[in-house]
């Protein structure tokens, strides 16, 4: 359900915003998970679009960091399948590839090129999902 950040005045648990990462590079998933948790988010990471969609169907996600180039179902198809219901930012090594541009066209909020610095990542996330 989400990590608890603390309790507010009414004694209700404050939950951390949930950010999903979809990227088929395992070490990027790991690094991002550690990073996101360190800067005050809860991270749910997926190496395939399919598993992300399965999770997203049943769980609330505040924002997804999506790499357009995924094996199996690609990032564009993922975006389309979830009917643009989750705010999406792109993190990719191929900023000018057709898939990336398509995803921007379809409505991704931001385009970040790897390697993105922690500062930039944090600013972008703060903009769309205050922690």
């Amino acid at each position: 359900m989400g990590n608890v950040a603390g309790f507010n005045d009414l004694g209700n648990a404050i939950k951390l915003p949930i950010i999903s990462v979809v990227d088929n590079d395992a070490s990027i998933l790991d690094a991002l998970k550690l990073t996101l948790e360190d800067i005050g988010y809860e991270a749910k990471c997926f190496s395939s679009g399919k598993r992300f969609l399965e999770y997203a169907a049943k769980n609330h996600i505040d924002l997804v960091i999506l790499d357009p180039h995924l094996p199996g179902i690609n990032g564009v198809d993922v975006f389309v399948k979830m009917e643009a219901s989750i705010p999406t930012v792109i993190l990719t090594a191929w900023p000018t590839a057709p898939l990336t541009l398509e995803l921007v066209e379809l409505g991704a909020l931001e385009l970040m090129t790897k390697p993105v610095s922690l500062d930039t990542l944090q600013r972008v996330l703060e903009l769309h999902v205050p922690s």
Binding site: N24, D25, S27, I28, D30, A31, L32, L34, T35, D38, H69, N74, L91, A93, W94, A97, P98, L99, T113, K114, P115, V116, S117, L118
Partner: protein, 503 residues
């Protein structure tokens, strides 16, 4: 016969075929070169329509072309920019270049054609065009590789960048050192990936620019396998995988360095795409060849991708959909090397079960020849190759010490702890000496040495490295045939000690 035509001897000496044609299109005069180029005796041509020298498909148009020239006769090349052909007596087409000149005389108007055999020039032009095309293709290919590789480098850079930022924050928060250490370890695999990518780029420049010629010789496969095992065991072991070499006694014919590159690439990929189980290197004789297999228990390759697995993998201007990280570039290079060596390669795979990559090499013989035996002894003599099992968990100390020992001509097999040391023992031949740090994660250095000796069934000399605090402990443990060396490590002292203990 017109009398005011050019001097006959000049005509005869002309390097081109000279054909004089009257207003009706009949040939009135030819020279020797005409006979040579078109394969006729002149008597066969005089009085004939000039179309006899024109290939079938152009024949219909030619009279109209003559008429058109006659309307505005002036000296000019014929069919500028076109590739013209003439027809030899045998029926074959000859590439030609033709110049036309009108001549007026008392007997009427004539046209002189100077016809040059352009076979050589046209062939050369085609070859240049082909070479240009090939060069452009190669450049395009190289650009694609380079662009793909440079984009690929962004991935590990991203991981490393994030890990560093995390470490920075951990240090500011004065987090636990072990937590920081965990993150630094994770950076290692990203660095390895970058290293491999850069190696691949180096390969591209070496092999694609044709800077390498294979040097074929007899190769003892077992020696190659041993080298591969030594080089790749740490990586496999680090991932919890077994690297198994099936012993073989085949002698084959190949370039050892290039063949090693091929098999090593298979092994690296196998390690990368296998999460659990083993990677096996083996060889079997098939007729006059030896088939070298690298089999893994990894994630496998989908059937539809198997056909393209060796293709260079990405079209930048098109689609990176099918990109395989690292795999595509590496295997394309492997294919290139295999082509240069004329060694067929193939792959079999079952998705979810594993893959086998194979390379076929020519068999020389099945028994170690005297030459191979000599090869082994020379190796030993040349390098004085003492084999050291080195157990040290601090990566930078390990690296520095390893370098030191290797520069002194020793073969170093490094494990970060007791578990890795035991796995190494299974894969390498018996070490001459064990150098171990005392403080290790899991079993301490003394326990590790004891276990190794038990496994090998012999008492291998050992050097125990330690800071001041542990000396008493080690003494009490009573490890036979061992010497304690204090930190900080003095390189010369270590090397001298190793030699003394083995003297």
């Amino acid at each position: 016969m017109p009398t005011d035509l050019p001097d006959r001897e000049l005509l005869e000496a002309a390097p081109d075929a000279m054909v004089v044609v009257d207003q009706q299109g009949e040939i009135v005069l030819v020279n020797r070169q005409t006979e040579t180029i078109f394969g006729y005796q002149r008597e066969e041509l005089i009085g004939q329509l000039v179309e006899i020298l024109v290939p079938d498909q152009a024949r219909l148009r030619h009279p109209a072309q003559r008429k058109s020239f006659a309307k505005a006769p002036h000296q000019r090349p014929m069919g500028q920019g076109l590739e013209l052909s003439g027809r030899h007596a045998s029926g074959r087409e000859i590439p030609v270049e033709i110049s036309l000149s009108p001549i007026n005389s008392d007997n009427g108007s004539f046209v002189v054609s100077a016809i040059r055999d352009a076979s050589y020039r046209r062939e050369a032009a085609h070859q240049i065009l082909e070479a240009k095309q090939a060069a452009e293709d190669a450049t395009r290919l190289k650009s694609r590789f380079l662009a793909a590789a440079s984009h690929d480098l962004r991935q590990p850079l991203q991981s490393i960048g994030l890990y560093l930022a995390i470490i920075q924050r951990q240090l500011e928060k004065k987090d636990d050192v072990d937590d920081v250490s965990d993150v630094t370890k994770k950076m290692q695999s990203s660095l390895t990936v970058m290293g491999e990518l850069l190696d691949t780029l180096l390969d591209i420049s070496k092999f694609e620019s044709g800077g390498v010629e294979p040097e074929l010789t007899e190769v003892t496969l077992q020696i190659l396998f041993d080298q591969l095992s030594a080089d790749n065991s740490p990586q496999a072991v680090g991932k919890g995988l077994d690297l198994v070499i099936v012993p073989c006694n085949s002698i084959i014919h190949s370039d050892p360095g290039m063949l090693q590159r091929i098999i090593e690439n298979f092994v690296t990929n196998a390690i990368r795409y296998t999460e659990q189980g083993s990677i096996t290197i083996s060889a079997s004789e098939v007729g006059e060849s030896v088939r070298i297999d690298v089999t893994d228990t990894g994630i496998g390759i989908p059937q539809k991708d198997l056909n393209h697995i060796f293709d260079e993998y990405v079209q930048i201007d098109n689609d990176v959909r099918d990109r395989r990280k690292g795999l595509g570039l590496g295997l394309a290079i492997v294919k290139h090397i295999a082509n240069m060596l004329d060694h067929p390669i193939e792959v079999q795979s079952i998705e979810g079960n594993g893959s086998t990559f194979s390379v076929f090499v020519p068999l020389v013989s099945s028994e170690p020849s005297t030459q191979a035996a000599a090869q082994e002894t020379t190796d030993d003599d040349a390098s004085d190759a003492l084999s050291i099992l080195f157990v040290e968990d601090d990566p930078s100390v390990a690296e520095a010490t390893e370098m030191l020992l290797e520069m002194a001509g020793m073969r170093v097999h490094h494990g970060a702890d007791g578990r890795e040391a035991m796995k190494l023992i299974n894969n390498i031949s018996r070490p001459d000496l064990i150098v171990s740090d005392y403080r290790l994660p899991g079993d301490n250095g003394v326990e590790v040495v004891k276990k190794v000796r038990e496994q090998l069934g012999m008492s291998i000399p050992a050097i125990m490295i330690t800071g001041d605090t542990s000396i008493k402990e080690i003494d009490q443990a009573g490890l036979a045939d061992s010497v304690i060396l204090r930190k900080p490590l003095n390189g010369d002292k270590l090397i001298t000690l190793i030699h003394e203990m083995l003297a």
